[in-house]
């Protein structure tokens, strides 16, 4: 695998604040790469640097092995930005034609029809963008990103402000684009569920530094805290919870409604031991199982770690 996007030690200061403090990661060809972080973490600054809108103070950056400052490199990149940069007074078709002309797409008509079909906007292409819903605007932005058939897509919050149905639709389109059209995608998002569903690799940035980076599955296994979940008929009594806390060997973590969560990683207690302990205190057990750490749990623990004790 070769890196479609390569960042090495990127630093950027905006005014008095150092926004990026040596950001390093690679997005491999064919990846759907999730770029996560809280507000103000440096995601948008990274994306702006990747698109050549800002210049890094130091560090090395290349996209498809070339300098992003070169027009030829930019021809190979499609993007969705926030705000979307669509012209309200133009129709969807005119917006796409404008960008097709900029990218010098030969025979743009067929290409435009193809991407409009891909995002499901063929029937509204003749309407002014000012009349579009937020979800339709985002889909048109995706079509614009695809109009010149780029190798790399850089997407900043493509589902931001879109209703749940629209988000599902955009996720479907993204997966279609990434798999059927074989694109490398860098997706910046706040939406952990979205990233978990569609990305194979992630980086989490916080306060300008990459806190976590790698294959999502691998990270879950090596860093995530898998859990043993015991389902009880009713919320456990306080006395039972107290008893559980007095037994560190059981690895009790927390109670969530009628679920009791225990440490599930290496060296954790046996499920049978936990069940025996609970039934001995009169707790009715309705089910038990293991659950892998979610991206949300990984994300929270990484950010908590970064906060310090």
């Amino acid at each position: 695998m070769t890196a479609a996007i390569h960042l090495d030690g990127i630093r950027k200061r905006l005014g008095a604040r150092e926004v990026l403090k040596g950001v390093t990661f690679d997005v491999e060809t064919g990846d759907i790469f999730g770029y996560l972080g809280p507000n103000g973490a440096g995601k948008t600054t990274t994306i702006r640097i990747l698109l050549g809108l800002l210049r890094a103070d130091s560090g090395k950056l290349d996209v498809l092995g070339s300098d992003i400052a070169l027009a030829g490199t930019r021809m190979k990149i499609g993007f969705v930005l926030d705000p979307d940069g669509l012209y309200d007074s133009m129709t969807g078709m005119e917006n796409l034609r404008y960008y097709a002309d900029i990218y010098g797409v030969p025979g743009a008509g067929a290409g435009i029809d193809r991407v409009l079909g891909l995002v499901g906007l063929a029937d509204r292409a003749g309407d002014r963008v000012g009349t579009y819903s937020k979800g339709m605007r985002q889909r048109l932005s995706l079509a614009r990103a695809m109009v010149h058939n780029p190798e790399v897509l850089i997407l900043d919050e493509p589902t931001a402000g879109v209703d749940p149905t629209g988000q599902i639709e955009i996720r479907r389109i993204l997966l279609d684009i990434a798999h059927a059209e074989k694109k490398t995608v860098l997706l910046s998002s706040h939406n952990l569920d979205e990233v978990q569903r569609i990305c194979n690799r992630v980086a989490i940035i916080d306060r300008g530094q990459i806190r976590l980076y790698g294959e999502l599955e691998e990270l879950r296994q090596t860093m995530g805290r898998s859990s043993i979940v015991i389902e009880t008929g009713a919320a456990a009594a306080d006395s039972v919870l107290e008893d559980l806390r007095r037994q560190p060997g059981l690895g009790f973590r927390e109670a969530r409604g009628t679920s009791l969560l225990f440490e599930g990683g290496e060296g954790a207690a046996e499920v049978s031991d936990i069940i025996a302990f609970l039934t001995g205190r009169g707790v009715k057990i309705e089910g038990a199982g293991r659950r892998e750490a979610s991206l949300e749990e990984l994300y929270s623990s990484i950010l908590q770690e970064a906060e310090g004790p």
């Binding site: 027009a71 705000p83 940069g85 669509l86 309200d88 900029i102 990218y103």
Partner: protein, 246 residues
């Protein structure tokens, strides 16, 4: 040049899609131009024509002033309103940022957007100035005197004034792109009345006459000064500065 032309075409298309704004601009500009023509015609041209021996230089000065003022008002109002509108709207909506993420360079955006406002303004000014000239001529001068026109009047109205506004449009777009569009708008809004009233005051006192080469050269000097400002500010035109400006 290809990108500049594409940005220019898109800017023109976007501006023409605001018919209400275009109508207001045209209405205001035409009212100003007609008002000036009637004012100069009634106060200065008609009394001079009524004299036993009309002074041709006085008539040249006032017809020249009508042409200058019409050209200046039309191109000035058109350029300042559409510049502010398009810069504010497109910066807010991320259109300019999106363009800069393509192979389009900041210089293409700047030139394309400036020309997209300037060229239709120029066409509007040329047509209106010709109409004002013919209107004043047929109302006050023909058949007694005939057409009053000198080469300097033509150069002033159709070359010097457009050059002043081309340079000013470039300055205002440069300031608006790299800083706040409102700052560029203030420059445009102050420049139009101050410059016009200054030139009219000078011409009414015949220092210099609006039909003289000095008047033309003074305007070309203003265009050159604005051009020097453009050259000095041009280094600030970077994608980063545009992206980070509000």
């Amino acid at each position: 040049m290809r990108y500049t032309a594409l940005v220019m075409k898109a800017a023109m298309r976007a501006n023409f899609r605001s018919p209400a704004v275009a109508a207001v601009i045209a209405g205001v500009a035409l009212m100003c131009a007609a008002g000036l023509a009637v004012l100069f015609g009634t106060l200065f041209i008609r009394p001079e024509v009524a004299r036993a021996a009309p002074d041709r230089s006085v008539l040249e000065n006032h017809v020249g002033l009508v042409m200058f003022a019409t050209s200046f008002v039309c191109i000035g109002i058109y350029a300042s309103v559409f510049t502010f509108q398009s810069l504010t709207r497109e910066k807010d909506r991320g259109c300019i940022q999106a363009l800069l993420a393509t192979p389009v360079a900041p210089r293409d955006v700047w030139l394309g957007k400036s020309l997209g406002v300037f060229l239709p303004g120029l066409a509007f000014a040329v047509v209106t100035t010709l109409a004002a000239f013919l209107g004043v001529s047929y109302t006050y001068l023909i058949p007694d005197i005939g057409f009053i026109i000198t080469p300097w009047m033509i150069i002033t109205s159709f070359v010097a004034v457009p050059l002043v506004y081309l340079a000013m449009t470039l300055v205002v777009h440069l300031v608006g792109l790299t800083g706040r569009p409102a700052t560029g708008n203030v420059i445009a809004q102050v420049f139009l009345p101050v410059m016009m009233s200054l030139m009219i005051n000078l011409a009414v006192r015949k220092v210099p006459s609006a039909a003289s080469w000095v008047f033309t050269v003074a305007l070309l000097g203003v265009a050159a000064a604005a051009g020097i400002i453009v050259l000095l500010l041009r280094s600030k035109l970077t994608a980063e500065r545009i992206t980070l400006s509000r």
